[in-house]
């Protein structure tokens, strides 16, 4: 057992490539045989990944899903921010400038609208659950923007740890739901061209959610959605502890 652990830990990234490869194979096999191609193989793979993450989190009590399991530590590196961003940027290869220009303004508007709408919805839910403290309402609203904007805002305006944890949980729910829900709802919201993908990225904003959701819907749309989504968290961190907090404070 010691030998296995030594080899697996020392070669953790390589182990991750092998494990993910097997998961992909199983997922595409299931998509083909069980759903006759109706559900995309990558959607199943992402769902399996999330299930594994849930299992890893409950078994280890850690915060990095399956990557906290000693033998699977390489998943943390392979699925970490650096590799994710590297792969996202590579999808921009071959994108035509004309496509970006066409949805440019709609994309920019959607980023602002997306941050504000998610914030308002999250804040309204906090109020419905009986919160009256503007700091808590703002932090939970910011959590509904993304799970990064929540804690950044909460720490900046001095929210309690419990509220910050809630805001992270709200952001995680959003991110996971976008991953799973996007391929299911794509047709109904007209998500089948570069323009609507840019708007989608701007409105949803959660980079992980958008990255996975579009991958499971149509990989060709990924660069367009990811491009706008990556501005969203930055804008949220800008507006959350400032303008949005001032407005909430004035109301409560």
């Amino acid at each position: 057992m010691d030998i296995v652990e030594t080899v697996f830990v020392r070669n953790n990234l390589v182990v991750a490539f092998a494990v993910v490869g097997v998961v992909m194979w199983v997922s595409y096999f299931l998509a083909d045989k069980l759903t006759a191609g109706r559900i995309h193989g990558s959607a199943i793979a992402i769902a399996l990944g999330l299930l594994a993450a849930y299992w890893g989190g409950t078994v280890t009590g850690g915060s990095r899903g399956v990557a906290d399991v000693t033998l699977l530590g390489g998943i943390g590196l392979m699925g970490g921010g650096m590799m994710r961003d590297f792969a996202i940027v590579s999808t921009a290869f071959g994108v035509h400038i004309s496509e970006l220009k066409k949805a440019g303004i709609a994309g920019v508007i959607s980023i602002f609208a997306g941050v504000i709408i998610s914030f308002v919805v999250g804040a309204a839910v906090a109020v419905m659950f009986g919160y009256t403290d503007p700091t808590a309402i703002t932090t939970i609203g910011a959590g509904a923007v993304t799970y990064i904007v929540g804690p950044v805002t909460g720490e900046a305006i001095g929210a309690s740890d419990a509220v910050i944890t809630l805001s992270v949980a709200a952001g995680l729910v959003k991110s996971i739901l976008v991953m799973i829900g996007t391929p299911l709802i794509a047709k109904r919201i007209g998500l089948d061209n570069p323009q609507s993908a840019m708007v989608f990225g701007g409105l949803m904003g959660t980079t992980s959610g958008v990255a996975a959701g579009l991958a499971a819907t149509d990989p060709k749309l990924v660069p367009y959605g990811a491009m706008t989504a990556t501005f969203y968290t930055g804008l949220g961190c800008l507006l959350g502890p400032s303008v949005l907090y001032f407005i909430v404070s004035a109301m409560f």
Binding site: I88, I97, L172
Partner: protein, 132 residues
């Protein structure tokens, strides 16, 4: 050389991240503002420009395409390292806030998509791509 393409991709990412980080400092925000998006713009411009042909065409290009093809497996690994357990422990408030934000945002996608379609009709897309 394959590594030329990989290097171009890497330079785009690092430059984009530097810009995003600088933008964050300028705006007094504790976050990287659009670093990845800016990096993507660099790569779009490089792959559309004649000056970078040596780095984007032929074998060099496959160095970028490889990572593009690795995108979905990397996203699966990303899903597997999410803090799903914490999301389920947030209770009804976190669940309601997250679900409501997603439903409202989904519903607005078709509304905002129409904004971009006013000037040019959608059918032009495929023709332009073939010409370019």
């Amino acid at each position: 050389m394959i590594v030329y393409g990989v290097a171009l991709l890497s330079v785009c990412l690092v430059l984009g991240m530097l810009f995003g980080e600088a933008l964050g400092v300028l705006l007094n925000v504790e976050a990287n503002v659009g670093g990845v998006g800016i990096a993507m713009l660099f790569l779009v411009f490089a792959s559309n420009s004649d000056k970078f042909k040596a780095l984007t065409e032929g074998v060099s290009g496959t160095g970028i395409k490889f990572w593009s093809a690795m995108y979905i497996p990397i996203v699966v690994a990303m899903a597997a390292r999410q803090n799903v357990a914490a999301a389920t422990e947030g209770g009804l408030l976190a669940l309601s806030a997250g679900v409501a934000a997603v439903i409202v945002s989904f519903a607005l996608v078709p509304v905002f998509s129409k904004l971009g379609k006013d000037d040019s009709p959608a059918p032009d897309t495929s023709e332009e791509q073939e010409a370019g």
